[in-house]
């Protein structure tokens, strides 16, 4: 059984009388340690999938089995715990707490975990050992995103979810971030899902799930994904 099994996942938003189907009948599987890119244009529903996978949202129907547990049936508190212990998030706009140093931002996440990594070690891992005492505002976008990744990794999650992690970055720093993600995935056997609308990025994935209009249009397994340094955008 796959590490993640999404079966017939649908999410319907009701805004008054209007019903919007964000995703409809989506099914896919992800193996443990895979680097997956969810690819699709803006508004295709990929973020909804990510939110549901991350326990930030619940599906209207269907099941989402992560490591043997159907999180679609989770109650609010279970979802919180799921986010707390199993999920690491990386956002497009980093969402660092501006008032905390890089190290503190990492610690903020790690201090609530059962088996956190050492915050300083993780920061070293993302190459920001020397910047650990800087505040987010003192860091560049790429550095901030790396802090964000460090924060996610420090939790020692089962699943790393990244929502357009390079969306706000220039290509150079974006590349660095992607490299970090790919390395982590490979070295630590960390299941990583990256959401992007950038098809180039999908080249680095073990599996590419294409989503269009709320539906999976294609799932491509790539036996030999490219390394980040080899892609070009």
């Amino acid at each position: 059984m796959a590490f993640i099994e999404v079966k017939k996942l649908s999410k319907v938003y009701k805004m008054g009388e209007v019903t919007i189907k964000a995703v409809e009948n989506i099914s896919f599987q992800i193996e443990e340690g895979e680097l997956v890119v969810v690819l699709g244009p803006s508004g295709a529903g990929k973020t909804t999938v990510l939110n549901i996978l991350g326990g930030m949202d619940t599906p209207t129907s269907g099941s989402v089995i992560v490591d043997g547990k159907n999180i679609a049936k989770f109650k609010k508190k279970e979802l919180t715990n799921y986010r707390r212990y199993d999920i690491g998030f990386v956002f497009q706009f980093y969402n660092l707490v501006g008032n905390l140093t890089a190290l503190e931002n990492v610690s903020l996440a790690s201090q609530i975990c059962k088996h956190p990594k050492d915050s300083m070690e993780v920061l070293r891992q993302v190459g920001l050992k020397d910047r650990s005492n800087h505040f987010p505002a003192q860091l560049s976008g790429g550095e901030q995103q790396r802090v964000s990744i460090a924060r996610a990794l420090a939790k020692n999650p089962k699943l790393l979810l990244c929502d357009e992690p390079t969306g706000a970055l220039d290509s150079k720093t974006g590349r660095m971030v992607l490299e970090l993600l790919q390395d982590t995935c490979h070295k630590e056997h960390m299941t990583t899902i990256i959401i992007t609308h950038n098809a180039v990025i999908s080249e680095i994935a073990d599996k590419v799930i294409k989503i269009k209009n709320g539906q999976v249009s294609d799932i491509i397994s790539q036996k030999n994904p490219k390394l980040v340094k080899d892609i070009d955008w």
Binding site: R84, Q92, N95, G98
Partner: protein
């Protein structure tokens, strides 16, 4: 317009914020306007009352009364509108010092509460609360010096604008304190001159009492009165002098007349005496004459008797001789005659037989003739004898008659003699009496003369009458009311300022936050090409709607509710119970204008900051504030010691300085206000316990009916039988004296036995050490000492009601909170005041004080009783009413606290939605998210509370100082429990607000919040 429609949408979207804005504006404006207006409402109310009943502006009293001429010349003054003369006097009615006035028509009118005005001389108006309609009021007889009758029926219950305050000032009768007043018809008074004249100043009704315009009017009139005063004083003097001199002359004339009349009477009396003397002398002459005459008569009579006797004796002897010729005794004569007559008869018979002419016949005839002459001779002798005998008899009769006559003559002379002697004695008495009477008369006349001379002297030395001008300031009620009103004002200045600052900051904060939150919307409007003016207008529109609703609410509460609540405190002491509340239009407009201006200005200012940013940037959220290290991190050991979450909290606290300051001010302010509220309660509620529980522990003071030089066994026996546990003989007097133009009532208590004072009053100095009374000074109560400005070792002087001055030395100052007392022992009292005696007993009782008291009063040995519990109740009334202000303050502060806390927390949350969402995504439980936010609020709340405690203590001290009256010394303490209350209220509301915000936090949507662009 769409953009205004948008404003309404905004309101609906954030009802919480809108209402909190309204609420803060309402609270602020209500508190501000209400407290500020109370004082002026009070003054307006009083002014209205004074105007309605025409309280005099001046009262003229003269030492020699006032006349119609005085009234007329007062009426002639330029600044006068009404002048009305009146009478008054003071008397004791049922033991109460009472001032009796004549009813006036135009000035100092009475306020009839119940009943009707008097219609005849037997009807009276009394102060409401003293007697009931239909009661009979009987004056002491001394009142007949002023009025014509003593007994009245109560027909009306009144109040007077002259007596608006509980305390009515001093009195010359009774206890020295005026207890009540009454009004009767003018006609009842029998005085020749008015005792006083009331004057209403021109424009009295258009000016406002206590205010400058009034004071100026009064000053004008005062100047005129001061000018008129010497003129009228002289005029009155001359009038009285003339009158008195005339009287002296009249008396002189009368005396002269009386003197001459008296002297004439005495002359007449003397003449009569002389006449009587003369008639006595005549009497003596007459008497002597009578006596001589009697004696003469006696001699004459005796000689007559003697000669008659000798004649008779001669006749008798002659007769005896004749008889001898007959040789017969007188006794034999009748027989001889009879014999002769028998012989004659027989001879005649014989003759008959004889022829006439015969010898025989002739012889016989001869014989017959001889016999006949013999017989005749004998008869003659007998006749003579008879005659002599008769002569003797008549002589003897004459003698007897004479003797009788003589005796009666003698008797009558004797009685005349007695009469004359008596008359002489009487005359002598008469003379003596005359002398004495004359002496008396002369003395009397001389006395009268001297009296007249004295009177003349007195008239010549007659002092000029003195006019005393009293204005309203001399009425203790009038000034006390003003003091009270300004006291409210003083309180009103501190509270609202504090309050307004907090409220204003909250409003600014709210608006700033709102605009910050909507910066992207503003960006949108700007990019859509809306003019800045329109955008500003839309926000100002929003603000003005909130302000208008808030102001309407706040001002109506402020002007029509708050003053009434506050005045409740004072209405117990003043007769006016219904406060006139007015909407102060200018102030309202200023408040509205200021509020509008500040709100609009802040709105504009915040918007203006946004306008400087390009619309494109506006569309992006404001960059979060840069994190900073806080100074605490430099203290390494402390920082290390803090847990991670606390580090975050501390860092966050210092990140939003503005918000922290706002929060601190808000919480500090609310805590300070709350603590002040509770503190006021502590300061006043423990007062009575302290005063009557640990200082004045006696139960009652009974006034002895008669002053006693030493303990009375009668009293002692009575007390022993009536559950009295302790007793002490004292002399207690009530002195009134002036300090800083205010009359101070002071009780002077002199103890017979200073050693047992501890049973009744605990004298402790301000450090709590016991003080004892010694023979060389007094113990003053602390507030008294403060008002008099004296300290231990100083001396001070007081005047009693007879205006005698006493100089006292201060030996100690004792803790005391209610009323003024001077304690000393009898030795010192006697040294200072002269020999005095006990007039009261201080008592501790077992059982129900009033029951015991009634038993004591029934004995008739006591004239009055004063229970400590009564005094306590009286002050408790006053003090309890202060609770209104406390409730008001606590109420308002609580509302403010809730609003402030809610506002700050919601702002805090809205500012940090993104951060909170991040935490949620990171898997923080709701509780953890909440506590992440709460920790700051709680920390701030606690710091704010602690700082607030400090301010609260100061504010409480200030408020209590301002609220203090002369009779009461407030403690200015805050009980530990009050800190707890204030703390709990703040914490409870914080928690309530936190619970509410917990739910707000709970519904924060992670996904929406994390979207970078709205």
């Amino acid at each position: 317009m769409l953009i205004f429609k948008n404003s309404f949408k905004k309101i609906l979207k954030s009802l919480g914020r809108f209402f909190s804005l309204i609420f803060i504006i309402a609270l602020g404006s209500a508190f501000f306007s209400g407290l500020r207006e109370t004082s002026s409402d009070m003054i307006k109310t009083m002014d209205h009352y004074y105007d309605e009943y025409h309280l005099m502006d001046f009262r003229v009293v003269s030492t020699m009364g006032l006349t119609d001429d005085d009234v007329a010349s007062l009426q002639g003054l330029a600044n006068v509108s009404v002048v009305e003369p009146a009478y008054s006097f003071e008397t004791v009615v049922d033991g109460y010092a009472t001032k009796v006035y004549s009813i006036t028509d135009e000035v100092n009118q009475v306020h009839l509460i119940e009943g009707r005005m008097p219609e005849n001389a037997n009807e009276i108006l009394v102060e409401v609360g003293t007697y009931s309609l239909g009661d009979t009021v009987t004056f002491e007889s001394d009142s007949l010096d002023y009025i014509s009758n003593q007994s009245f029926t109560v027909v009306g219950l009144i109040e007077s604008p002259m007596y608006i305050y509980n305390s009515k000032g001093i009195s010359t009768v009774g206890s020295g304190k005026l207890d009540t007043f009454m009004y009767i018809l003018k006609d009842n008074f029998t005085l020749e001159a008015y005792t006083e004249v009331y004057i209403l100043a021109k424009d009295n009704l258009t000016t406002t009492a206590y205010m400058d315009d009034y004071e100026n009017q009064v000053l004008l009139l005062n100047a005129e009165l001061q000018n008129l005063r010497p003129i009228r004083e002289t005029a009155r003097y001359e009038e009285l002098f003339e009158e008195a001199m005339n009287e002296v002359y009249k008396a002189q004339d009368e005396l002269n007349e009386e003197k001459s009349k008296g002297e004439k009477e005495f002359q007449d009396a003397w003449n009569e005496i002389l006449e009587n003397e003369k008639s006595i002398q005549n009497g003596w002459i007459e008497y002597n004459n009578g006596y001589a005459t009697l004696n003469e008569t006696k001699a004459n009579m005796e000689s007559t008797f003697a000669s008659t006797r000798s004649q008779l004796e001669a006749s008798e002897s002659a007769l005896s001789e004749s008889l001898q010729s007959f040789n017969l005794t007188y006794e034999e004569i009748p027989n001889a005659i009879a014999t002769a007559n028998t012989q004659i008869a027989s001879l005649r018979a014989m003759l008959e037989g004889l022829e006439e002419g015969s010898e025989e016949y002739l012889a016989l005839s001869k014989q017959i003739t001889a016999l006949q002459s013999y017989s005749e001779g004998l008869s003659k002798i007998l006749e003579a004898k008879q005659e002599i005998d008769n002569g003797y008899a008549s002589l003897n009769d004459g003698i007897a008659t004479w003797n009788q006559e003589y005796q009666s003559g003698l008797n009558s002379l004797r009685s005349s003699y007695q009469q004359l002697v008596d008359a002489e004695a009487q005359l002598e008495n008469g003379k003596k009496e005359y002398e004495a009477n004359y002496q008396t008369f002369t003395t009397e006349i001389n006395d009268a003369l001297k009296e007249i001379d004295d009177a003349r002297e007195e008239v010549l030395n007659m002092e000029k009458p003195v006019w005393y001008l009293f204005d309203r300031e001399d009425n203790s009620g009038y000034t006390t009311f003003y003091d009270t009103a300004t006291k409210v004002d003083a309180i009103a200045t501190v509270f609202p300022v504090f309050f307004i600052i907090v409220a204003l900051l909250m409003c600014l904060n709210t608006m700033t936050r709102m605009i910050e939150e909507e910066r992207s919307e503003i960006g949108l409007f700007t990019s859509l090409g809306y003019s800045k003016g329109k955008i500003v207008a839309s926000y100002i529109f929003y603000v003005l709607i909130a302000s208008t609703i808030g102001l309407l609410l706040g001002l109506s509460i402020g002007y029509f509710v708050v003053p009434i609540i506050i005045y409740q405190v004072y209405s117990a002491s003043f007769t006016i119970s219904n406060l006139i509340t007015v909407l102060n239009v200018p102030v309202s407009l200023i408040i509205i204008f200021v509020c509008y201006f500040i709100m609009s200005f802040v709105t504009y200012l915040t918007l203006y900051r946004d306008f400087k940013i390009m619309p494109a940037n506006l569309l992006r959220p404001e960059a979060p504030k840069m994190g900073k290290r806080v100074f605490l991190e430099k203290i390494g050991f402390l920082w290390k010691w803090l847990s991670f979450t606390w580090k975050v909290t501390v860092r966050n606290l210092f990140r939003y300085k503005k918000r922290i300051i706002m929060t601190l001010i808000g919480i500090t302010g609310c805590t300070a206000l709350l603590l002040t509220g509770f503190g006021i309660q502590d300061s006043i509620s423990s007062l009575m316990d302290k005063q009557f529980g640990s200082i004045q522990v006696y139960d009652a003071v009974v006034m002895l009916d008669e002053e006693l030089q030493e303990e009375s066994s009668e009293v002692n026996t009575l007390l022993a039988n009536n559950d009295i546990t302790e007793k002490g003989y004292i002399n207690m007097q009530n002195y009134t004296f002036e300090v800083n133009k205010k009359n101070l009532d002071i009780y002077v208590m002199a103890f017979e036995d200073a050693n047992n004072i501890e049973q009744f009053v605990h004298l402790k100095d301000l450090d709590g050490n016991p003080i004892s009374i010694t023979d060389n000074g007094v113990i003053l109560t602390q507030k008294t000492a403060e008002l008099l400005g004296v300290d231990v070792g100083d001396t001070f002087s007081i005047r009693n009601s007879e205006n005698s001055l006493f100089v006292l030395k201060v030996n100690g100052i004792t803790e005391n909170y209610v009323n003024h007392y001077i304690y000393m022992n009898m030795n010192y009292y006697n040294q200072i005041m002269g020999e005095t005696s006990y007039n009261a007993l201080i008592l501790n009782m077992d059982g129900e004080a009033e029951d015991v008291g009634n038993h004591l009063m029934e004995s008739g040995l006591f004239s009055g009783i004063q229970y400590s519990s009564d005094t306590m109740e009286m002050f408790e009334d006053v003090i309890n009413s202060l609770n209104n202000i406390v409730f008001l303050v606590i109420g308002f502060s609580t509302f403010l606290a809730i609003t402030v806390l809610y506002n700050l927390t919601t702002i805090n949350i809205s500012e940090r939605t993104r951060e909170i969402a991040t935490l949620k995504v990171l898997g923080f439980h709701d509780r953890e998210v909440s506590s992440y936010v709460y920790r700051e609020t709680m920390l701030l709340t606690i710091v704010g509370i602690l700082v607030g405690f400090g301010f609260g203590v100061l504010l409480n001290y200030f408020v209590m100082t301002v609220a203090e009256t002369d009779e009461i010394l407030f403690l200015k303490i805050v009980d530990p429990i009050s800190y707890l209350y204030a703390f709990l209220i703040m914490v409870i509301f914080t928690v309530i607000v936190q619970v509410v915000t917990h739910f707000i936090l709970k519904i924060i949507n992670m996904i929406d919040s994390l979207k970078s662009v709205e």
